[in-house]
Symmetry: C3
Subunit: 157 residues, 3 copies
Amino acid sequence: MHNAETLFRLAALNTEYANCIDADRLEEWPGLFLEHCIYKITTADNYAGGLEAGIIFANSRGMLLDRVASLREANIYERHVYRHFLGQPWIVSEDAGDVRCETSFFVARIMRDGTTDVYATGRYIDVYRLNSGSPKLRERIVVCDSSRFDTLLALPL
Amino acid sequence: MHNAETLFRLAALNTEYANCIDADRLEEWPGLFLEHCIYKITTADNYAGGLEAGIIFANSRGMLLDRVASLREANIYERHVYRHFLGQPWIVSEDAGDVRCETSFFVARIMRDGTTDVYATGRYIDVYRLNSGSPKLRERIVVCDSSRFDTLLALPL
Amino acid sequence: MHNAETLFRLAALNTEYANCIDADRLEEWPGLFLEHCIYKITTADNYAGGLEAGIIFANSRGMLLDRVASLREANIYERHVYRHFLGQPWIVSEDAGDVRCETSFFVARIMRDGTTDVYATGRYIDVYRLNSGSPKLRERIVVCDSSRFDTLLALPL
């Protein structure tokens, strides 16, 4: 049984994370990570096989900001929005302010024409830094259950 | 970081809200609103464009009760049930007992023949009145992500 | 308004429950139940009609362990994984350490070829035993909204 307060703080960060993406406040999304951080999107098969290559990889907040900027500038992808649903964080360990944690996600995608589909499901494998203020993500590995990916993959998961 | 107690109370109201609809306790649903209230269903495009017209509109608890009564009497719609899934409330502001808040929703629809689909996704844009007892909804604007609506729209979202 | 601490403990058990199944830690799943317990999967129509026959039925932790063992040994079902999403527990009553509670569930299924679908929605109708440590399930009736079932039904819901 883990600390209710810790769980509450992680869930609040995840709510903010989902809102940044779903409400098109992408510029605020990198601010949820530490300056030195890992953000990676991969598949369950690759993750289980220890394959390092991810679909998307960043190892600093600056790279995340660059990614957002290029999404804004290029804007060549077909317009769509995401809607994230996150489970309750499942805490693996807590050590000196670093919390290891897994959280299930489900993302619905709504295309310009109104079509809605189950875009992706999976789990976030996270390391959070619990600061005195809001916690920050030190590492988020987005492990998608399915290996089939729409080539449209553009917005962060 | 918002107050854990406030968040807990809003989440409890939302759980009750979903249960009233999904468990066919529709008559209890209007009781979650203040006597003078706004309940509106609209689309993200209309909402962003400032268009006032909603798909459904009510400005009193009495209108919500009337709606439930007519659903019960008419009963001409094809039998179906909903299953709501709500994210954690994302609190925008809190002022003298009024809380402004957004919550993602996902509604699955199960038809009489067993077919299940993703019926609607979107966000509730809410104003809650925090009373000494249970909070009440002063305003709930249901903003659906998709502009495509099944004409079956009958049960509340 | 129910006790935040009770709700937190039930939600933590449900997070663990989902993780046991979704992360393929099936052997740990029976440990969330009491030695003498009820686990049943049925449909909303059968449940409403008072029909006792369920799709799956167990009345002891031993039967749940047997079920997991046979899933491991047989292994004839097409490979697939589940991803559970659970609502917040809706507490019906609390009496001398037994909590009656309902919780909405949504399970996505991801097949070997990457296909993802909405596999099942419904509600858990539960009785929890609140021990001094982690709560345990005395009874979980899995009531699926749809009467249509894929014959693949193999992993626990």
